[in-house]
């Protein structure tokens, strides 16, 4: 094994690329859960984003049109979930699972004519001299616009939840929908908006996989990324800045195991491929040990709201 073949600069730079899809999806899901809704369909929304984004980018020739279509596709799937859980008051766990199963099937159907095509790449943001700096230039200033967009979104969500009135209402709805309802806030409307935002984020994350990271369309290409995003929300104890840490940690593990595979580490390939999932379990275990001293989950998470008249 030749560890010197692994360049730390490239490792950190590709870590950010590997983490971005999960970061976007996890950030969206965190907002949804803050509003008191548990949407287990992240995987389904991501894969729908991946396919609609890819198809739109190929048909229009512009990756930007792809990302826009992916956000719309993800939000449309999320609104389907929202209609079922908020209006028809179906079980959120079961409906989320249904969203994932349906998304995996439908995306395979939509994408069947697009297997094996390569998408136009998204150019890097040119920051002139900054990008030429050693190490820092490559790591911080040499990425595509979506990486920066995801970082801006983290800051935006953090500020929104912490400093704005709308963010306070959203958190109130998640902590106690009955109290929020009694104060005159529209619980269902707030939750639907949050659900749509979460779907759009998951869709963007999926499109980042199919348009930048891979960049191709293959059936079932999200390979559990949506579920890992859900785990990261728990890991982050529902805080935006920790979602960033969680996603980048996870991206680091993914990239490291890929690098070890190519460097020919004397560890079975299958064990390395399973490493991200094993680490996710490990993290969940560590979190639950810590969370025994009082969890950070929104109090009304996954509870259905029905305004009794």
């Amino acid at each position: 094994m030749d560890l010197s073949a692994i360049s730390p600069t490239l490792l950190v730079a590709s870590l950010m690329v590997a983490a971005t899809p999960i970061l976007l999806a996890a950030l969206g899901e965190m907002v949804v859960e803050k509003a008191g809704v548990l949407n287990l369909g992240v995987e389904g929304m991501m894969i729908m984003g991946a396919v609609t984004g890819f198809v739109a980018a190929i048909e229009s020739g512009s990756p930007w049109a792809g990302f826009l279509a992916a956000a719309i596709g993800g939000a449309a799937m999320a609104l389907l979930f929202g209609f079922l859980t908020q209006v028809l008051l179906s079980n959120q766990v079961a409906t989320g699972l249904a969203l994932t199963l349906f998304g995996l099937g439908l995306s395979a159907l939509i994408g069947q004519g697009y297997v094996g095509i390569k998408a136009n790449s998204l150019g890097r943001v040119d920051l002139g001299a900054l990008s030429d700096l050693p190490f820092v230039g490559r790591v911080l200033f040499g990425h595509d616009p979506i990486v920066y967009l995801s970082l801006l979104l983290v800051a935006g969500v953090w500020a929104f939840l912490r400093f704005t009135r709308a963010g306070l209402i959203l958190r109130a709805v998640g902590e106690s929908h009955n109290a929020a309802h009694a104060l005159g806030y529209h619980v269902r409307r707030v939750r639907m908006t949050a659900i749509a935002f979460g779907g759009a984020c998951a869709g963007l994350g999926g499109a980042y996989l199919s348009l930048v990271r891979v960049p191709q369309w293959t059936e079932g290409m999200t390979a559990g990324a949506g579920w890992i995003a859900l785990a990261i929300v728990v890991f982050a104890s529902w805080r935006a800045e920790r979602v960033l840490v969680g996603a980048y940690l996870f991206g680091g593990i993914t990239v490291l195991q890929l690098n070890l595979q190519t460097a020919g580490a004397r560890v079975p390939v299958e064990l390395l491929s399973a490493a991200p999932y094993l680490v996710t379990i490990l993290v969940l275990v560590l979190i639950s040990i810590r969370a025994r001293r009082g969890g950070a989950a929104p109090a009304d998470l996954a509870r259905p709201f029905h305004a009794s008249t």
Binding site: L40, L89, L97, G105, A108, L109, G224, T309
Partner: protein, 360 residues
């Protein structure tokens, strides 16, 4: 204006009618989907739902129906018990894979013996493999409160990698060249799970599925454990006052569903699939979730639901061969069914009232 008014108790009529309504709605929107794919919708629906059961060549498809339905019913019967208690094992696919690997490994350790004890040993090891794989999320949930949904699902991906390493590595047939995979278990007399009655598709997995359904039915309606499970699902607080230990329920429900999923994997690997290979995982563990809900989490309903889902599999293959409808359309169709099912459930829990009504 349309309002929803909660019923004091769920409607029995709608409870029975809603799966039928969901199937009807899925047929309509499935027809629209096939029309969008440029197919004649009636022709497509006939190819999927009529031909395998009552068509000219139904004798050929009928054997396939039981082969597909058995693992679905076996897994769904276990999952439904957990779902009743609000314990979400969604990693049945992983338990199914590990059961198959564990059973196959136990049998192959004695190759080429012809002892009659080998198949029973494999069945026990398959069940044990699935059980232990499900015990990982169960024990973590009970001791540390770790979310069982995420852990059981993550373990599916781990099981996938375990399967890959078994197929290309430690269980690989040493005498074979070419495609990686284990020795053929269905051709080795001692491990084979053959058709018990020729032409029916009836193998030991079908027998096990029937036993599991009867067991689950008795458990849920006649046994104290079944009562505790239902109580914990419907009124967790009341269950705690009644002295139901949540930890025991978690261990029992996850363990039982893992055991049944492991059995399903073992019967599949020794029968229809024949060997441990990379593409052994077929998604039965996930489709079984749909089957469990379609059967209203009721063991007897699950039999009907499993058979219906088997029809979509067999008919889907038929449609793919004859009409060129992509296989993915069938998974979308199955997902759609689950959606409609959850949507029409509103009718059994709520009354739909039109007009403003009297506000109290």
């Amino acid at each position: 204006m349309i309002r929803l008014e909660r019923r004091p108790t769920p409607s029995r009529v709608w409870g029975a009618a809603s799966p039928l309504l969901a199937v009807a709605l899925t047929m309509v929107s499935g027809g629209l989907m096939f029309a969008a794919l440029g197919q004649d919708p009636l022709e497509a629906l006939r190819t999927i739902f009529w031909d395998p059961v009552l068509g000219e060549f139904a004798w050929y498809f009928r054997a396939q129906l039981l082969v597909k339905a058995a693992p679905l019913i076996l897994i769904a019967a276990g999952l439904a018990i957990g779902f009743r208690a609000g314990i979400w094992n969604i990693g049945a696919e992983g338990q199914y894979i590990v059961g198959a690997i564990a059973g196959a490994a136990a049998g192959l350790a004695f190759y080429p013996s012809e002892s009659a004890l080998i198949f029973p040993l494999m069945v026990v090891c398959g069940a044990l493999g699935g059980f232990l794989w499900a015990m990982i999320p169960a024990v973590l949930k009970v001791t540390l409160g770790t979310n069982e949904i995420l852990v059981s699902l993550m373990l599916v991906y781990v099981a996938d990698n375990l399967l890959a390493s078994a197929a290309v590595g430690w269980l690989r047939n040493p005498d074979a060249v070419g495609f990686p995979g284990s020795r053929n278990l269905s051709q080795w007399e001692a491990s084979a799970n053959p058709e018990l009655i020729a032409g029916t598709g009836m193998h030991w997995g079908v027998v096990a599925a029937l036993i599991a359904v009867i067991f689950a039915h008795v458990l849920m309606t006649r046994h104290l454990m079944g009562f505790h499970i239902r109580l914990a699902g419907q009124a967790p607080r009341a269950a705690r006052f009644a002295g139901v230990a949540p930890a025991r329920l978690v261990l029992f429900c996850l363990g039982l569903s893992g055991l049944l999923a492991g059995l399903a994997g073992l019967f599949e690997v020794t029968g229809p699939a024949g060997q441990v290979s990379i593409d052994f995982a077929s998604g039965y563990g996930f489709t079984a979730i749909i089957v469990a809900f379609l059967g209203r989490l009721n063991p007897l309903g699950i039999v009907a639901a499993g058979l219906l889902m088997a029809v979509t599999y067999v008919g889907g293959d038929n449609a793919a061969a004859n009409l060129g409808i992509p296989g993915a359309a069938i998974s979308a169709f199955q997902g759609m069914l689950l959606f409609f099912l959850l949507a029409v459930d509103v009718l059994s829990n709520f009354r739909v009232r039109v007009g403003r009504g009297a506000l109290a």
